[in-house]
């Protein structure tokens, strides 16, 4: 790639060595946290593009997208502006899209909803992995999955743990969004805590304390828990920078570092 990697890619270690190599990403869990004021969906769009853009040399990666928040046309239009045609990728079987907008799980009918969804995901992962391709599972978003499950946090956590087993079994990556401010009201919520525990990388989008501005849309905090380097040292890094979302890309810059 010609242009220098963005701060986000750098913080996510997406540019380690060969920028097209997604190896370090295998088996990872990424958690995107956002709130009412700042939507973190743009991180997801960025990562979709990273994983299925055709100029990736390891073009053997497939994205499984589970959408609770928006219809396909919404993602398609956004990604098209970023130079990535989801409709074509879907036909090429690089994108497997689950439209879950209408998924309902009545009181005791979880079997029909979440379990069936997991079954579909597992099937898709098995098929794709047998072709020796990287799989990325994206879920947008967990808070809505919770609503679909009628508030049964236990079922949602079971679902996430099952998905997590796929990361070790097939080496796939999981990227999810959670609305963090829902759980910040003091009560003890297990869902965000367990999700944070599972996550290797946490990306938090929040507004600036001074409010929203036209040229700084918010700040990202990226906590990359990293991995043991084999010598018993634990490499973990935390990054913080501002961003500005544009139609076809996102500008990342250090606080005050905007020219």
């Amino acid at each position: 790639m010609d242009r220098p990697a963005s701060l986000l890619d750098e913080a996510l270690s997406l540019d380690d060595g060969d920028s097209n190599n997604l190896r370090p990403w295998r088996g990872r869990v990424v958690l995107v946290e956002d709130c009412v004021e700042t939507n973190g969906a743009f991180v997801l769009h960025h990562l979709i593009k990273r994983f299925i853009s055709p100029n990736l040399s390891s073009s053997d990666s497939v994205v499984i997208f589970v959408a609770f928040a928006q219809p396909f046309s919404h993602y398609d239009r956004i990604l098209r502006k970023m130079g990535c045609n989801l409709a074509v990728q879907r036909e090429n079987k690089r994108l497997i899209f689950f439209d879950m907008l209408m998924l309902e799980c009545p009181d005791d009918g979880v079997e029909g909803g979440i379990i069936a969804l997991y079954g579909n995901i597992q099937k898709a992962v098995e098929v794709v992995s047998s072709l020796n391709k990287n799989v990325t599972i994206m879920i947008d978003d967990i808070s809505l999955l919770e609503v679909a499950a009628n508030g049964s946090t236990k079922d949602v956590l079971d679902f996430m743990h099952y998905c997590h087993t796929l990361t070790t079994q097939f080496g796939c990556t999981i990227i999810t969004v959670i609305h963090e401010d829902i759980y910040s009201s003091g009560d003890q919520f297990t869902l965000p805590l367990q999700m944070e525990h599972l996550a290797d990388i946490k990306i938090k989008a929040e507004p600036l304390v001074t409010g929203l501005a036209a040229d700084v849309h918010g700040q990202l905090t990226v906590l990359n828990k990293g991995r043991s380097d084999g010598l018993g040292r634990w490499k973990s890094k935390i990054r913080n920078f501002h961003y500005r979302v544009k139609e076809n890309s996102v500008d990342y810059f250090y606080p005050g570092g905007r020219s």
Binding site: H74, E104, L144, V147, Y183, G211, L212, A214, H217, E247
Partner: protein
């Protein structure tokens, strides 16, 4: 000459082709979206054109004052004026009676001067939306043509009977719904009767729900039922050409559930009454006497785009112009003494963050 003429005529044809959408009370927006008017011209301008077709609009009520009803009434009246089917649900025993309180369109003798006046005001209020003003102009000039995209309403006069009788208006009392499943079916039935979107929209519908989580409803304590109702309403509306307008008293549900509601909204507004005798506030804001309340814009729907809408101001004052039409204005902060203004020093910054305090401008 002939070619020249041809060119000019083709140019004007293009021009006249644009407002055809306004006949239906709809307007094309950016990113392949379509706008529908909120019934408050100023609110349309603030939101960049109106409500997105297919969006869920939520208003957080002030439990002490019925300001959300002003917005709800204008929203419904605008639908009646545009001959759009309406579904109205409220926790009252006789929701149909509410239709009698809807305001009528404002037609007065001083129409022109008033209009010019309003336009000037718009320029002052929303100069940053000049690009949208340009779009609006053809519609405004078409006054005596057909239907305007957005009308002003006279809050003192009830709407003409024939508009209520001539339109498809369904009224549902939320008190009769023991669970939300029945109400959801009514909504989906209502939406299924709307003509589907097939590239050429002929009509749009409006769903207006007043105080969904009112405590007198049977399902009041079932947080998750209400959430999944809103979620399915949102997805139903998204795939049809309608707008759902929902008001709810946010303080009646627990903070985390309230956040969930807010996340579900495509466009999120809140209204707040202002106390009559708040001396401190009266000193701080000019035109305090005329204000009815405050309207805050928390979230603006963004369909097919990832760029957030950043408004210059998030809090607007609700005023009645000549005691009859609803206008929204930016807050004008009166000059404050450096010494006496210390208490507002933290919250008085020009920030749009809702974290800084109860008031922000």
């Amino acid at each position: 000459m002939a070619t020249n003429k041809g060119r000019t005529s083709s140019f004007s044809r293009n021009f006249s082709a644009a407002p055809t959408s306004s006949i239906l009370g709809l307007k094309y927006g950016p990113n392949g979206t379509i706008f529908l008017s909120s019934g408050v011209p100023d609110l349309d301008k603030i939101l960049g054109g109106g409500f997105h077709l297919g969006s869920l609009v939520m208003i957080m009520e002030d439990t002490e004052a019925p300001h959300h009803m002003l917005l709800l009434r204008n929203f419904m009246s605008q639908g009646l004026v545009h001959n759009q089917p309406i579904l109205y649900a409220s926790p009252s025993t006789n929701p149909r009676a509410f239709l009698g309180t809807l305001p009528t369109t404002l037609v007065s003798k001083d129409d022109r001067s008033h209009n010019a006046d309003a336009e000037q005001k718009d320029l002052r209020i929303a100069w940053q939306y000049k690009k949208y003003l340009g779009e609006n102009k053809p519609h405004i000039e078409e006054r005596d043509g057909k239907v305007e995209y957005c009308n002003e309403f006279d809050l003192r006069k009830p709407i003409e009977k024939h508009l209520i009788m001539g339109n498809r208006v369904e009224c549902i009392s939320l008190l009769d719904c023991s669970s939300l499943a029945g109400f959801r079916d009514s909504c989906s039935k209502f939406l299924s009767q709307l003509p589907r979107y097939d590239g050429n929209i002929t009509s749009a519908g409006r769903i207006a729900i007043q105080s969904l989580c009112a405590p007198q409803c049977e399902y009041f304590d079932k947080d998750w039922d209400m959430l999944s109702f809103i979620r399915s309403l949102k997805s139903m509306v998204r795939s049809s050409n309608a707008v759902a307008f929902l008001t709810f008293p946010a303080s009646l549900v627990s903070p985390s559930v309230s956040k969930r509601w807010q996340h579900l909204a495509d466009t999120l507004l809140s209204v707040k009454a202002i106390p009559d005798e708040d001396k401190e506030l009266a000193n701080l804001l000019t035109g305090y006497q005329d204000m009815l309340g405050l309207l805050s814009v928390h979230k603006v729907a963004r369909f097919n785009t990832q760029v957030p809408v950043i408004l210059d101001a998030t809090t607007y004052s609700i005023k009645l112009q000549k005691r009859r039409s609803l206008v929204l204005e930016c807050l004008n902060q009166a000059p404050v003494d450096g010494s006496s203004g210390s208490s507002y020093g933290t919250s008085g910054s020009c920030s749009g963050s809702s974290k800084t305090g109860t008031l922000d401008f």
